[in-house]
Symmetry: C2
Subunit: 702 residues, 2 copies
């Protein structure tokens, strides 16, 4: 055989390729990991939890997961919850550790995180957030809900005809003074509680959001604990529940619908930390209405972390496969090129790696903000001191704005990342065993639940505009609004002078300035349009969404630069971190170039130069892509995707898994007999007994 | 009860809302439908076929489809194919009618279209494209493949380690002169045929793409018919086949892998329309290498039509639901606003409606191009006249470029459209019963197969650049390259003068000019960069993707304007068609504003004005959205989504379907006993027999 033939008949050797890539890493993987995780302690804790999850016989998730039916997903998820509750008892009272456990398990089995998260993070958190200490103590500890004992809770907020608008919910809780009871009622089909996770088959109790009606007066939506099932797990009278059935993803969760038909609960089942009703029916409203919503922000901040984790997983798969996959040889060469050496492939994936790095800083910051805010709120509520409360609410407002912007921006970006990574893996990205399909389907609901992304983004955009408007009016910024205080740089960036000149394209602090400038100029333009439209800010809702996204990138970049500055001068991880930060900044400037050009932050000529700076940065970071993804320290268990396997032996592992899951010795389908008969059905004339033949027609025409 | 309470407890009346919306239609729905379908005849034919599909007891697809397991999807799809083959026999020889039938069925059951399409559109088309008339006649008619009798074919092209690069495939077909046979062999795991639709359980024969080896010389990839199973449906010796298992979507297709182990086939099984091997082993190559690929473009053109059909379906659902769904009331009002009245919601959905309309013209044009090109190619091949062939190849090149741009752009846009429409429906978009999940999962493989979108888009981009380069060099355009001939407007649009001034933002032909100008200026800039980089065009691959997309929008707009101009002056459908064309043009200019500003097609000030022109157009088209989607004439059967139901009674229909599919009288899960036990497992101390109690530890410490 000729030389060409010989070389062609050699099987691909992807492991060798990946070894060679790995050898390019010029920094310490552990150091990078600790940097991304926030500290050495956090890094160690996470690895400990990860190894427990990976080895646990019940919690473990392998390729067979991708072939489960909905019924199996439901059952296995329930069994995993039973198993996890043992860890919960062990972790107590370290709730943060258990939360970390749930966050990490959500990487490979998001539905499990959610199904248990509804009970712990929504049901119990809302009792904690809206109930008195005594109420929380009863339901959580005396009854055992905190360790998933006796009680399993669901969160009865959304209704069939009301998702986003909580204030418009229609379920009623009418106070019956004579019996000191509330009557919970679903007035019509549109008010049916819908999408309630855990309601279909698990929950014994609901936290029900219902309009408080006293003496025919509507006091708006309050929260009540309403039991659904007794301790034989039988539905209580007046409670109608059904399974809402098949969903795009998260089959392991038993989402359901609930109708309450004049169900009576004791007055004491109302959660009364802030609002209460006296026996006589006097309604006492909270001092500050926002207080009731603090606990719900936990979900949003978790979703920022989820975005980071999910992005880590899928960019690792895509970059490993891009390193070992070869297509097209250069002229005169026999070995085909690695996909990652194509400029287009670099442009598709490297910015997503940079984005993932950026998310780590957003995640770390928002988690800290959340825990600090909650403890200040608690302190305020306990002390009853109005000043402490006001300060806590300032923090809450900042958290609300940041989490609205980050949750929406990053869950959208993660959906895009999973999808782009899948497409970058070609056909094999479409195989369930490589993980993209289920992950995407499970993921995208994050863009909708706990605040629809468009609603959140327009809110965050409004906050930015309001902060600038306030500054323009008063010359002051709310000191507590730290992350929105950049508006005080108005004078520095107003007007239309260029901010990002050619010689600054490679300078991180100028890049940060360019985001500050575009936020300020776009907000100012929105203020003008709103004023021209009689104060109607809906007219700039698309711009508000853009503001929210730009704010999120500015936020990440800001925290990122601070963290880079904390590194020693000769840190080995510093150069790559700086390059990745530049890539994210430049890439997003390019994506939003319409705004950056429109507001003259950079000139059209600079945009051309920006493209070539970006391309050079891709080439610089290219040799490190394997080291930079190894730094996420995901074992093959957490990757759960043969084409993203650590040792690079993608094809063999993928083929093995396909054969394990689909035994090739069974070569006929269960319906084969039917299909074979159809193939051998004979001609149409035979099957019609020749009743259209010329002979027949001759007879019939006589 | 107070007034507020009374109004709140009224169930939503969405049907009334939709009736009112429908009454705003000021044009004839039938007239619009015929315009979109291309002619009255086509419109009638399609409605006839649709009613046959809808009523057929086997082909019918209802909400139960969304709850089927993979095994059920596989079986039902096979049964539908058996049913469809009866229609096939009836339609013969009108292949176009049957193709239309398949296109229409793909709206509600895409996997069915594909599973049969592999046999008819890939297996048989490649025999027709690459085989002699006699070969085609044998396999298609004598053996019965054309009516799905006796033979079921699959298309053995892609391999485990080679997707996109057909020329790099590694399966071999070695000629054994002594026995006049080819030996088909899979040399190693990487060359395993992979993703082969129908291979796992259906196919009896494969068209195998393999490297022709004669006397140790490699002649590149040719095509061979290789039998896989005998007429008992048993695997032939040397054939190893397995199921590749679970996929992101299209569960109804039995994709498989094939390994050929030195399988011998008679020499006559090679497809020899263009390439052949004499008995002595002399290889005769085709006069023009491109000829062999003509037949494969059928898939790409079909995908342009698929994009149109799928977009019609989902924009209808999203707009109907946006019209009946209400969230948030204005101050002082009791009835909440319709979602479609929010400017952001208009901006999210109305451009997608405009895009769908644009797709109809792309689909109609590309189908005509395809059938004309194929018949010219046939004429050329039959006559053997080199001039006829050359002309046909000119047409083929144009089709190649247009279909590469349109297939990639529109399949991407359709994925985005399905996803954006889903998100616009809030949580209910995530329910399987509303159709988005399965449709998206089924859809997205269209971005990968039959030419990965990035590969196709960079090809199309290269063609545009090459056309401009040729024009700049020679002052001529290839006359056959009609759709790329706009480069001859180079002198009109070169330089950096503004093309789209403020007073032209509302003028369709100026909008078309702006696309021509951006294509020319961006191409020219690419030529410059390529020259600076020693002719390396990979460096501008991202720009080539952008060129391909901009070309697709220019293409649609061009055909659209031609069709609008054919309407009579007082046509009632004209004003909305003009507005929609403007919306699509302006919306995409905004999306690509970086390029439009960078190349000074419009000024930054004009971009601000463009935004307000767009907003005004949304408001103008807003009252017609129901009429404009009714014009697609999809019955509830084709919609298969309760929230998109024609009469608007979304909540009731959705609730009914959920109850049909998930019987609420079964209130416990099959695993309930396990779950109940876990909930009532007692405390950790009890379960551990108090072995950590103080009492125990006291004893143990003694």
């Amino acid at each position: 055989m000729s030389k060409i033939l010989e070389s062609r008949s050699v099987a691909p050797q992807p492991s060798k390729t990946l070894d060679a890539e790995r050898a390019n890493t010029d920094f310490n993987i552990d150091e990078m990991y600790e940097f991304l995780e926030g500290s050495k302690e956090k890094a160690i804790l996470r690895q400990e939890i990860m190894s427990q999850l990976e080895r646990d016989p019940v919690l473990k998730t392998d390729q067979s997961y991708y072939d489960l039916t909905k019924a199996e997903h439901r059952e296995y998820t329930a069994k995993k919850i039973a198993r996890l509750s043992q860890y919960l008892e062990q972790d107590m009272p370290d709730v943060a550790k258990f939360q970390e456990r749930l966050n990490l398990i959500a990487i490979v089995d998001p539905q499990l995180g959610t199904r248990l998260g509804v009970h712990l993070g929504l049901f119990l958190s809302s009792i904690k957030g809206n109930g008195t200490d005594s109420q929380f103590n009863y339901w959580a500890f005396e009854r055992g809900a905190a360790s998933v004992r006796g009680i399993y809770g669901c969160f009865g907020m959304t209704e069939l005809a009301h998702g986003s608008n909580v204030a418009g919910l229609e379920t009623t809780a009418t106070y019956d003074k004579s019996k000191r009871e509330f009557i919970i009622n679903t007035p019509h089909i549109g008010a049916t509680k819908w999408w309630i996770g855990g309601a279909a088959h698990s929950a014994t109790h609901s936290v029900c959001f219902a309009r408080l009606i006293v003496d025919n007066k509507d006091y708006g939506v309050k929260t009540f604990v309403v039991p659904l099932r007794d301790n034989r797990h039988e539905l209580l009278p007046g409670i109608s529940i059904g399974d809402i059935g098949a969903k795009m993803g998260r089959d392991g969760i038993d989402n359901g619908w609930i109708q309450y038909s004049n169900v009576r609960i004791p007055k004491e089942y109302m959660l009364t930390k802030y609002s209460k009703v006296t026996d006589d029916g006097e309604v006492i409203e909270p001092p500050l209405a926002q207080l009731a919503y603090g606990a719900l922000l936990g979900g949003r901040t978790t979703m920022v972390t989820d975005s980071f984790r999910m992005s880590e997983r899928f960019i690792t798969i895509a970059l490993r496969y891009a390193a070992i996959r070869r297509q097209f040889a250069d002229k005169g060469k026999q070995v085909e090129n690695q996909l990652i050496d194509y400029p287009l492939h670099q442009r598709r994936l490297i910015p997503l790696l940079a984005l993932t790095y950026g998310m780590s800083f957003a995640s770390d910051n928002i988690q800290t903000q959340y825990s600090e805010t909650l403890s200040e709120l608690d302190r305020g509520a306990q002390s009853g001191d109005f000043d402490v409360l006001t300060k806590a609410i300032g923090k809450l407002k900042n958290l609300f704005g940041c989490s609205a912007s980050l949750k929406s921006t990053l869950t959208w970006d993660t959906a895009t990342l999973i999808d782009e990574c899948r497409q970058s893996c070609g056909g094999h990205g479409y195989s369930s065993y490589n993980g993209f399909g289920k992950a995407y389907n499970d993921w995208v609901v994050q863009c909708t639940w706990e605040g629809d992304n468009n609603i959140l983004a327009t809110s965050a955009g409004r906050i930015i505009i309001q902060n600038l408007a306030k500054y323009l009016k008063t010359g002051k910024v709310s000191t507590s609004n730290n992350d929105f205080a950049f508006v005080r740089d108005y004078n520095k960036f107003k007007g239309d002078s260029s901010v990002l000149r050619d010689d600054k394209l490679n300078d991180l602090s100028s890049l940060l300035d360019s985001y500050t400038a575009v936020l300020i100029r776009l907000s100012e333009s929105c203020i003008k349009i709103i004023n021209e439209n009689n104060g109607n800010s809906d007219i700039v809702s698309a711009e508000r969404v853009a503001l929210s996204k730009l704010f999120a990138y500015r936020f990440m970049l800001d925290k990122w630069i601070l963290k880079i500055n904390s590194l020693s001068k000769d840190s080995k991880i510093k150069p790559d971190l700086i390059n990745l930060a530049k890539i994210l900044s430049l890439y997003k400037i390019d994506e939003f170039s319409g705004f950056f050009l429109q507001f003259k932050i950079l000139s059209t000529e600079s945009l051309t130069n920006l493209q070539s700076v970006l391309k050079k940065l891709f080439v610089e970071i290219r040799p490190k892509i394997i080291g930079l993804t190894d730094s996420f320290k995901y074992s093959d268990f957490f990757i759960n995707s043969p084409i993203g396997t650590y040792n690079g032996d993608a094809y063999q592992k993928y083929f093995d898994i396909v054969k394990i899951q689909n035994n090739p010795s069974i070569s006929k389908a269960p319906y084969s007999e039917f299909f074979e008969k159809a193939l051998h059905r004979g001609s149409i004339e035979e099957r019609e007994d020749n009743e259209k033949s010329k002979k027949t027609l001759d007879i019939l025409s006589k």
